[in-house]
């Protein structure tokens, strides 16, 4: 079992390394897929950091300042907690935090992420962030259900909610193959909690940056860093549950996990740049009427397959 003294630095180092990689991925996508007249998110780059130093930080007339500062901190803490769940090496118990109900903890991370984004939009007491926050809760809550069914589908063959057991159950067949609908549906959740592309209802351009419309200086950088951290945590979780995590023929476990997580992060960045965002009401109907039945189907497939 990895003690807290080793788990803590390991998770934070992996998180910061991942965030720098996400910064590079974003810059690459921004260059390759083309630039758009209005572009908003900062990245963990020297320019981003330099932009913050010597900048004045303004609040709005009567914000909930404590909640405004708590939001990025909660968002970043949840990303770190989510990443800590991921087993780094193949040997059983090599996860920084190995708890018996691993995917339930990830569910709690998702639920609290919806709260962090709502708090971020609510606390500045300005209309555009407020509308972004409320719109996001509708989609965040709905897509969370779909991800629950998909994760449970992955837990069936493992016979346990522990992430190391889920990795163990994929020794001969990855969950990506065992339940084909699993990863696509889970990626949609990734787009929602990292505020990217088609499910970015919180910080959308039609609300002038949505919940971050009133952010500036440190708060803006803190929010963007937390967003990048959540992408790292989500990519690692998706790689663990669907792509076998550290399992792989030649390379050592952590290298495989890094490669798979990097791939998932790249796919998310590209989807974020490519797909258009439907109307919020239309997306909510789509999630409940199409995606939820699909996740039921995915669960049924996983169930039948686990019986074999």
């Amino acid at each position: 079992m990895m003690g807290p003294l080793t788990a803590l630095p390991l998770t934070l180092c992996v998180l910061f390394a991942g965030m720098i990689l996400v910064g590079v991925l974003d810059a690459l996508a921004w260059r390759l897929l083309g630039r758009v007249p209005i572009d908003d998110d900062d990245r963990l780059t020297l320019g981003g950091l330099r932009a913050v130093i010597r900048r004045q930080s303004i609040s709005t007339e009567r914000p909930d300042l404590a909640a405004w500062r708590l939001a990025p901190a909660l968002y970043f803490g949840l990303a770190a907690a989510g990443l800590a769940l991921v087993p780094v090496a193949v040997a059983v118990g090599r996860a920084p935090v190995d708890v018996e109900a691993g995917i339930v903890v990830w569910g709690a991370v998702e639920a609290l992420t919806v709260i962090a984004v709502f708090l971020h939009g609510w606390s500045s007491n300005a209309l555009l962030p407020l509308m972004g926050a409320y719109r996001f809760v509708a989609i965040g809550l709905s897509i969370m259900l779909v991800s629950m069914f998909v994760l449970i589908g992955a837990a069936l063959p493992a016979g346990s909610l522990r992430l190391t057991a889920i990795v163990e159950s994929q020794r001969e067949l990855w969950n990506l193959v065992r339940q084909p609908l699993g990863l696509p549906l889970f990626l949609l959740l990734g787009l929602a909690i990292t505020l990217r592309g088609p499910l970015d209802y919180a910080d959308a351009p039609d609300l002038a940056g949505g919940t971050s419309a009133e952010d500036n200086a440190q708060l803006r950088l803190a929010w963007q860093l937390a967003r990048a951290a959540m992408l790292v945590a989500f990519a690692a979780m998706a790689a663990t549950v669907f792509l076998g995590g550290p399992l792989g023929p030649v390379l050592p476990g952590p290298v495989w996990l890094a490669l798979k997580a990097g791939l998932v992060a790249a796919v998310l960045v590209v989807l974020g740049h490519l797909l258009a965002r439907p109307d919020a009401s239309r997306m909510m109907t789509f999630i409940w009427v199409v995606l939820l039945p699909l996740s039921f189907l995915d669960l049924a497939i996983a169930g039948l397959e686990a019986l074999r």
Binding site: I38, R55, A204, A276
Partner: protein, 424 residues
């Protein structure tokens, strides 16, 4: 792929907020190709305020508020002619490219060589409140007074589900990045559903869009050049719409195609069509969104009219076009989806026409021609004076905010200005 210069050494990206005035939308959107400049949607994230084009007097109070909302150190660059709304703004001629001036300005700010531009508005709270009320917060009871300087929203009627909750009255200003430049709307919202809309200021005039077409009325212009200008206009409108819907890659493709069309290069709209299909833009829009009622259709013109089932196009009666067998494209639905498809189809058609009209000598269209947003000059037959004004309230009432922004973005800003009955 868009042409982009790498960021010169030693300079970080300049973050600017663009307050777009008259005839300047195309210029500002052209700046996106420079990798060193990033246009941000809120002044909070910007260190430079770029005032592009001429700002009418009525929008100066709004510009002062936007200027004061920027964090220090900040600077202002006025790129265009006309009076100076901000006293210590750096003026720049319209012909010059602002990238160099903006980087120099940002460098001065970073090194402290240039002071931050001071507030233009007095440093007083919106309404005096300190000391009043039990906690000195300026309020009384539960909902009374002006706590912390502003009153609280009160309840109002509700259109859709009858829950009489807070009717939030707000004006979204002339420099809102998601609205056409200059359009100021007075909204009454319940949540994010619009209860009532009133146009406070119509969009700013954008003569750049129709400059080549207006010139063709009194002096000979090449018909191929006009068609390329039309394609550029449609592709830019499409790019703006995709950017608002969060489809960054197709939007960048559309702007890149528009740029290549301006420099006369070969444009492949097939790849743009594939990007748009892949992005799922169309299925994301509710069918029938933004359809005008039969009475309102009279105010439509140009591509919007043709998307609503009326194939009325001056080019069917004008000499060079009839020679190459021009046939107008029309759609029936007249909703946001149809208008986007119309832009893409007409852009492809215009580029194809430009290729076919390449060899012809320049001609003048003395009795008028089909501009990108409707007929121009005094065309034979229908006159333009009797067109009714667009009732924006009827169009946007009951829509959620994202849908309303999409409906406004489905018209070209200049067409919207004309439909709202703005003179000049």
């Amino acid at each position: 792929m868009a042409v982009s210069e790498a960021i010169p050494r030693g300079h970080r990206q300049v973050r600017y907020f663009a307050a777009i005035g008259e005839d300047a939308l195309a210029w500002v959107e052209g700046l996106a190709r420079d990798a060193g400049l990033r246009r941000v949607p809120t002044p909070r994230a910007a260190s430079l305020l770029l005032i592009a084009g001429r700002l009418p007097e009525r929008s100066w109070p709004a510009l002062r508020r936007v200027h004061d909302q920027m964090p220090h150190p900040r600077a202002v660059l006025h790129w265009g002619e006309g009076a100076q709304p901000v006293p210590d703004a750096v003026a720049l001629a319209p012909a010059a490219t602002p990238a160099v001036a903006m980087r120099a300005l940002q460098g001065d700010l970073d090194r402290g060589a240039r002071g931050s531009s001071p507030d233009l508005l007095p440093n007083e709270p919106p309404a005096p409140w300190l000391g009043k009320g039990p906690h000195g917060q300026g309020g009384e009871g539960m909902m009374g007074g002006t706590p912390y300087g502003r009153p609280m929203t009160m309840r109002g009627d509700e259109l859709r589900d009858g829950l009489r909750l807070d009717a939030h009255a707000v004006t979204l200003g002339p420099f809102a990045p998601m609205l056409p430049p200059g359009l100021a709307l007075d909204l009454r919202l319940q949540g994010d559903v619009i209860q009532r809309v009133e146009v406070m200021q119509p969009p700013f005039r954008d003569a750049m869009v129709e400059a080549p077409f207006a010139a063709a009325i009194d002096r000979p212009m090449s018909a191929a050049g006009l068609e390329r200008a039309r394609a550029v206009h449609h592709l830019r409108c499409l790019g703006r719409f995709c950017a608002l819907r969060g489809a960054a890659a197709p939007a960048a493709r559309a702007y890149a195609s528009a740029y290549r069309a301006t420099i006369g290069g070969r444009v492949d709209l097939g790849s743009l069509r594939r990007w748009l299909w892949l992005s799922g833009l169309r299925p994301g829009i509710a069918p029938g969104l933004g359809t005008l009622s039969a009475a309102q259709r009279g105010c439509l013109s140009g591509p919007a009219l043709r998307a609503a089932g009326v194939p009325d196009d001056l080019r069917t009666r004008l000499e060079p076009y009839t020679g190459v067998g021009f046939a107008p494209i029309a759609r029936q639905a007249g909703d946001v989806r149809a208008r986007i498809d119309q832009w893409l189809a007409e852009a492809a058609q215009a580029l194809d026409l430009a290729a076919r009209l390449e060899g012809l000598p320049p001609t003048t269209f003395a009795e008028g021609l089909e501009g990108p947003a409707g007929a121009l000059g005094a065309p034979a037959g229908g006159d333009r004076g009797d067109r009714p004004a667009l009732d924006l309230d009827a169009l946007l009432r009951g829509l959620e905010w994202g849908q309303a922004v999409s409906v406004l973005a489905s018209f070209s800003p200049d067409a919207l200005r004309r439909m709202l009955g703005a003179a000049g």
